[in-house]
């Protein structure tokens, strides 16, 4: 029982991180209909920013400072890459984000070299022991940072003044403009936010396991999570993130010994099964039909 609980909580912790990254990805998709294939590289950029800042700053400060820089990076991507392409056909935009991903892969390698980088110092070790339940520091940090951030984001979107505007722009840019809502600024903000959320993941993972191309692979977990959540539902992404995190964790605990390698496939198997039953994912917004 305690082994199960252990896996469950660890899964929720990882899941919160997935959720956070997926929420940014989903927001971008909702606001611009762009599927950002460079999301893994956003993570990577977050990791390398943390690494670089960490050369001169203590790690916690490096991580904190990464966020505004990543936000600015998101704004740049929106200005330079996305805005010129908006309104073009879907394939062109997808190719562009794939191109962006490759360019960023190359650029980060050029700038920082191909080898794995490790950070100076580490986050304070926070192991949590609740009776038999022992949570590694990694999980505690992720629970501490990612989970509140994810919940705050859902709340802000639902309730805050800006959240309402983001949802309005996501639904119809032209209707928003007609109501004097500064849609371009809000779209840019959404890209910045998405980059910053990915960077939270990147920074946290960098602090835990160093920086290198493995971060891209982590970033790709956003896809099963977002699809499972329904692509355009931020709340859906949150729950789907948890679900995938937990499934992965359980699979690692119980199935990995029997079927080596199964854990990597688990998220995608779940997506496949869910989509067979519910083509719009678990929480995809249903079109409002009214005569």
């Amino acid at each position: 029982m305690s082994f199960f609980l252990q896996l469950l909580v660890a899964g929720i912790a990882t899941g919160a991180l997935y959720a956070l990254m997926a929420m940014g990805f989903v927001l971008v998709y909702r606001a611009t209909r762009v599927v950002n294939f460079a999301i893994g590289e956003f993570l990577l950029v977050g990791g390398y920013l943390t690494y670089t800042l960490n050369l001169v700053l203590p790690l916690p400060w490096a991580m904190v400072l990464t966020l505004p820089l990543a936000f600015a990076f998101g704004l740049l991507v929106e200005r330079g890459f996305v805005r010129p392409l908006l309104g073009r056909n879907v394939v062109a935009v997808i190719m562009a984000t794939i191109g962006l991903a490759l360019a960023l892969d190359g650029a980060t390698q050029l700038a920082w070299g191909p080898d794995q980088k490790y950070l100076e110092g580490q986050l304070p070790v926070l192991t949590l022991a609740l009776g038999e339940l022992i949570l590694p520091s990694r999980s505690v940090w992720s629970l501490l940072l990612a989970l509140p951030a994810a919940l705050a984001l859902v709340y802000a979107l639902k309730r805050s003044r800006y959240g309402v505007l983001v949802r309005a722009v996501a639904e119809s840019e032209v209707a928003a403009l007609a109501m004097k809502i500064p849609a371009p600024r809000i779209v840019a903000l959404v890209w910045g936010l998405s980059a910053a959320l990915a960077a939270v993941g990147g920074a946290l993972l960098a602090g835990l396991s160093g920086v290198g191309p493995h971060l891209i692979a982590m970033g790709l977990m956003v896809f099963p999570v977002a699809i499972l959540g329904g692509m355009d539902s931020v709340g859906g992404a949150l729950l789907a993130g948890m679900l995938v995190g937990v499934a992965e964790s359980l699979s690692r605990g119980y199935l990995e010994a029997l079927v080596p390698g199964i854990t990597e496939a688990t998220p995608f198997l779940i997506v496949l099964l869910v989509l067979l039953a519910r083509p719009y994912g678990l929480f995809g917004e249903r079109e409002i039909e009214r005569v």
Binding site: R167, E171, A176, A178, M179
Partner: protein, 258 residues
């Protein structure tokens, strides 16, 4: 004062939708822009709202002036700064937002306390909206959506309010009611109203002056009474006129078109 001078608009570089439109609206005045389907009415509304780019459209020639400011190429947020709000065709409310959220989105530039007061005023004006304030706007009826979008437009604090075919798809009784409310609003707030309509009879009841568009051009311009007297306008935009005469004229008109 709103002035449109010799405005030419193309879509995708080739489709000429406005071919030299000139019109003028004084502050506080109610003007109707009438015309059949495809005349270019919505194009005019989009141009006034600075929204052509969202439809792959572009101003080819001419200009739009609001007071002293030229807003022809100034982008979507410029008309707003100068006090013009364009309500697009098809009552484009945010369907996944609740009535309240729609109103808050539209009034986002107002300070918090003011916004709350103004929203209450809109809800008092349109009690149906008050009843359904927490429902998603996509589930409102057409008439309710039209009231909502008008309420939203009011929260942007326009001096010039341009409304594209508010009567579309509404029952005649609703149209009459809606237009009376529009008229009342326009008077109370001292708004200039540009009412773009195919439903000429209903529109004529509440305006001072009339423009008629046809194939991207102004083919008639005058006071409401003149429009009501003019046989062409009656015939083609009100579907009235002396019967035999009407036949002959329509024939002649058709020949002129082809």
């Amino acid at each position: 004062m709103l002035a449109v001078e010799n405005l030419k608009v193309v879509y995708r570089g080739v489709i000429l939708a406005l071919d030299g439109v000139t019109l003028r609206v004084e502050p506080g005045e109610a003007v109707a822009v009438l015309g059949p389907n495809g005349a270019g009415k919505s194009t005019l509304v989009r141009a006034l709202g600075g929204l052509l780019a969202n439809y792959e459209g572009r101003v080819l020639d001419g200009r739009i002036l609001l007071g002293d400011a030229e807003i022809t190429h100034a982008g979507p947020l410029a008309p707003a700064r100068e006090g013009l709000t364009a309500v697009l065709e098809g009552r484009p409310v945010f369907r996944y937002l609740t009535v309240m959220e729609n109103l808050r989105a539209a009034g986002h530039r107002l300070p918090r306390a003011r916004l709350a007061r103004e929203i209450e005023e809109v809800l008092a004006r349109f009690p149906r909206l008050a009843e359904r304030r927490h429902e998603q706007a996509g589930y409102l009826s057409g008439g309710e959506q039209q009231m909502l979008i008008l309420g939203m437009a009011l929260l942007t604090e326009p001096r010039f309010l341009v409304v594209d075919e508010p009567s579309l798809g509404l029952a005649p009784r609703l149209v009459a009611d809606l237009f009376q409310r529009l008229r009342q609003l326009q008077r109370e707030r001292g708004l200039a109203l540009v009412l773009v309509e195919q439903n000429a009879r209903a529109a004529l009841a509440i305006v001072d002056r009339v423009y008629v568009l046809e194939r991207g051009r102004v083919v008639f311009e005058g006071r409401r009474e003149e429009a009501e007297r003019d046989v062409d306008v009656l015939e083609f935009y009100l579907g009235e006129g002396p019967a035999g005469y009407r036949q002959a004229r329509r024939y002649r008109r058709r020949k002129r078109w082809v």
